[in-house]
Symmetry: C2
Subunit: 151 residues, 2 copies
């Protein structure tokens, strides 16, 4: 055809699913940081605390895989949260070298406050969607995530 190479890339590139996904996540992430800042917590800290809360006793390496970052990055975050007394490292019962991560009471308190802010964002966003729409969006996102991870 004559028009095949008029455009170096498809004009619909910005209408793609992956682009819409990025835009949405970027906007939500910015909102998270904004709401979490007054609480003296960063989104990365919230994510880490929430992950450890969901799976207590997680090791640093395992946590790094969950968060898609390197073990060193996790160690840096853990060190800071440990200094704030929000997280503690305990020796693994079998592996003396390995350290399990657990939330402290202060960590749970901080997490609860942060989660209140995140829940507010969730309410606001899902409030503009009908209940079935929200459920379907969640289901579709899960399928997208699994599809990308399986690739």
């Amino acid at each position: 055809m004559a028009g095949d190479d008029e455009e170096p890339v498809g004009a619909d590139a910005l209408d793609r699913l992956v682009w819409a996904l990025r835009r949405a996540e970027l906007a939500v992430q910015a909102l998270k940081e904004q709401r979490l800042r007054p609480l003296g917590m960063m989104a990365a800290h919230y994510t880490l605390l929430m992950t450890v809360h969901a799976e207590p006793g997680l090791t640093g390496a395992e946590l790094a895989r969950r968060l898609n970052v390197t073990p060193q990055a996790v160690a840096s975050l853990v060190a800071r949260l440990e200094k704030r007394e929000q997280l503690e490292r305990r020796a693994h019962p079998r592996h003396g070298h390995v350290q399990e991560l657990h939330l402290t009471d202060a960590g749970r308190t901080a997490l609860r406050a942060a989660d209140e802010a995140i829940a507010g964002i969730e309410r606001q966003i899902s409030g503009e969607l009908s209940t079935p729409e929200a459920a379907q969006l969640r289901a579709l996102l899960d399928r997208v995530a699994e599809s990308a991870r399986r690739a």
Copy 2:
């Protein structure tokens, strides 16, 4: 109630929309990096080139707002892409101090190759969804993004 404070945060925190959104974006982003690496391009470069392609003549500051990063970060990326001859800075017709950004032919070629990889990811992901599902997901994501940005 007795069980109100047994859990510091709602047990459904991981079932939230914002969490599913993050998981999906993280997985897709990792896939992008993986597919773009063999082409010697990073996801950030692709995003920048695509944005400039969509709006030629964009200034650095304007571009920074589009990408949700600081002007300095953009300047760093631009300098690198300029060194690769994929991007060029031209003086603004009215504002001598301001510089417009334009893609070079090499930039368009590189963008086309990169976009091929991204399009492959798009096909793979949307291939696991029905056509109406993909359309609805895109529409819902746009509403989420606008809702978060408006907050």
